[in-house]
Amino acid sequence: MTNLRLGGPDLGFGAFLVLVAAGTFAATWNLPIGTAAEMGPGYFPWAIALILLAFGLFFTVKGLTRSHAGIEPMQWRPITLIGIAVALFALVVEGLGLGLASLATIIVAAWASRESRFFEVIVFALFMSAAAILLFIKVLALPVPLWPW
């Protein structure tokens, strides 16, 4: 247990909740709160943010005072590559069409695993893109461009 003091699960979750509560206060400070009988739009968010703040502080204190096993070390490869794959899809699908977006997403996502093999991935990506086009555009009639032209 090397990282006993730095960033246990409770501390991480607690700090996250405090941040969310603070963000809510910041985003809703100009909404009228009103009274319990005539609630304004700010009443409910503020009530929940206060409760979240309480939970956040509880977990933060618990995380700081009790020993814990620490968080499992994070691996960057899966989350980065899956993230890029999804982001690529969002960027490309409307401009370049579903065909190219599917190819790009499959190839980049497959890279997230160490076991993927180059040629297998290419063939599989072509196959899946064809299947996606057939299923989503031909059968389910999703209104999305097919190709860039």
Partner: protein, 499 residues
């Protein structure tokens, strides 16, 4: 008899050709994802939701329900044959089911699992039909006050009965409620926490949230673990169980069915709790408990029956009260709302063919499952040979396309990506994401009923305690929370939920 009229109405809906077809599609997809360990019913249903938009409401719900209980069937097949629980609910089936398979009795184990599931499904369908009417009648008399208390009860019970730390799950419920606030406030027209993004005006769509947190985050976490080689080497001889097997399994099957039905109605009791409780019960009742874990047929029949019965009766709160018992039912609420149907007790009277059609389709669906599962078991098992390195990129792609398809906006894909990162963070700090989804779906209802109740009472919160039904509901909430603080109950809960 009103009950029979209703069931007949339901059967005539469920037996229409297109509804039978959607039911079949649902149970086939459900069995497939139940067999595959990498993907569960929540992301699958979320993925298919956008495409149910063009269907009739009944067809859409029939198909989605089929996916849910189909997954319970599929999960047990792999649990028995390869010791891989396709779903969390079939973890218990691994214990004795796989042991039976090792002794060369895979056929009877599969058959008993399927028969138990079918039996439980049939009984549960009747239980749903019997309970729905009085519950919906009761709910018709609810005002905003009772509704608020009922929603609170649903949320708290879901937290107490589900996996994981109660405190953390409670925090997640509130986080979900907060996300539910995002969008234009219906009463004042004020934009709340939309950060100037026009796509957020209608509120946070829960499909990208569900797919990000349950689909993508799970994939990212799976890829961090070392991969396991699954060996499928079971030869299936005869599927027909002997008379002695049936005799031993039958009482367990009946007990499992009723236990599962009862637990399934409870919020949060949806999928995991019934099989575990049934296994514990069978072990306690057995003359020779040491046989359990070494291939006892009761250890397969009881939990399998409980599992299926629970999966089905968890529809009761949804159909009668409009309240989801777990994250999956929350998605079903979303499916209803996409069809323009506001879930609640009025659905029973306004759309009887929808409600009873779905109930009756569970029976036809179970019959289909029995037929497609037993003879085709080899086909399903061969699906396990698809390596995960090919499976996960395909799931990523389908999540992207499905999310995009909800409203043809790339914004939802970005939202899903954000939720995936958030979901990964939750996995890392050991918090369950399911309560958040419940909070997100129920948030707007909870706020609206709270606001109305307070308006009625002139801002006096004691109204929740002076109305009898509301007081009873909140009393149950208080009891549950107090019970959670007692160390004895806490220990029992830990044992019951330990995997």
């Amino acid at each position: 008899m009103e009950l029979f009229d209703n069931l007949l109405l339901g059967l005539s809906t469920a037996l229409q050709f297109n509804n039978l077809l959607y039911c079949l599609i649902g149970v086939v997809i459900g069995t497939a994802i139940g067999v595959l360990p990498g993907i569960g019913p929540i992301p699958t249903i979320a993925l298919l939701l956008p495409f149910t938009f063009g269907l009739e409401p009944a067809s859409s719900l029939i198909m989605l329900a089929g996916i849910f209980y189909g997954a319970q069937y599929g999960g047990s097949t792999t649990a028995i044959l390869v010791n891989v629980p396709g779903e969390t609910s079939s973890v218990v089936t691994c214990l004795d089911g796989h042991e039976m398979a090792k002794q060369g009795r895979a056929g009877p184990a599969l058959a008993i699992a399927a028969i138990s599931s079918f039996f439980a499904g049939t009984v549960a369908t009747i239980i749903i039909a019997v309970l729905s009417l009085p519950l919906a009648d009761l709910a018709m008399r609810f005002t905003a006050v009772e509704y608020f208390s009922l929603l609170v009860l649903g949320l708290i019970a879901a937290v107490v009965l589900a996996h994981g730390s109660v405190m953390k799950s409670l925090a997640m419920v509130f986080l979900g409620l907060l996300l539910g606030v995002i969008g234009i406030d219906v009463n004042s027209g004020a934009a709340r926490m939309t950060f100037g993004v026009p796509s957020l005006a209608d509120g946070l769509d829960f499909v990208p949230v569900a797919m990000g947190m349950f689909g993508l985050a799970e994939i990212i976490a799976n890829l961090e673990r070392p991969s396991v080689q699954r060996v499928v080497s079971q030869k299936l001889h005869d599927l027909i169980p002997s008379r002695a097997d049936l005799k031993a399994a039958f009482p367990a099957m009946v007990r499992g069915t009723f236990l599962g039905s009862a637990l399934g109605v409870l919020p949060g009791g949806g999928a995991a709790l019934p099989p575990f409780s049934s296994y514990a019960l069978e072990k306690k009742l057995a003359k020779d408990p040491s046989r359990f874990g070494k291939g006892a047929i009761e250890g397969v029949a009881g939990p399998e029956a409980a599992n299926n019965a629970g999966a089905q009766t968890s529809f009761i709160p949804l159909l009668t009260l409009g309240i989801p018992a777990n994250a999956l039912m929350a998605l079903m609420i979303g499916a209803l709302m996409m069809q323009g149907i506001q879930p609640g007790p009025q659905v029973m009277t306004e759309q009887p063919e929808l409600v009873w059609g779905v109930i009756a389709s569970m029976w036809t669906g179970n019959l289909m499952l029995l037929v497609i599962n037993l003879p085709l078991v080899g086909l399903w098992v061969s699906m396990l040979k698809i390596p995960y390195r090919l499976l996960f990129p395909a799931i990523v792609l389908f999540c992207c396309i499905g999310t995009y398809g909800i409203s043809n906006s790339a914004f939802n894909v970005w939202l899903m990506l954000g939720c995936a990162v958030l979901g990964y963070f939750f996995i890392k700090v050991g918090v369950e994401p399911a309560p958040l989804l419940l909070g997100l779906v129920l948030g707007p209802q909870l706020e609206e009923n709270f606001r109305r109740a307070m308006q009625l009472s002139d801002g006096d919160p004691s109204v929740f305690l002076t109305r009898p039904i509301s007081a009873v509901l909140l009393g149950v909430v208080a009891l549950m929370l107090i019970a959670m603080l007692s160390p004895a109950v806490l220990r029992k809960r830990k044992e019951a939920l330990a995997e």
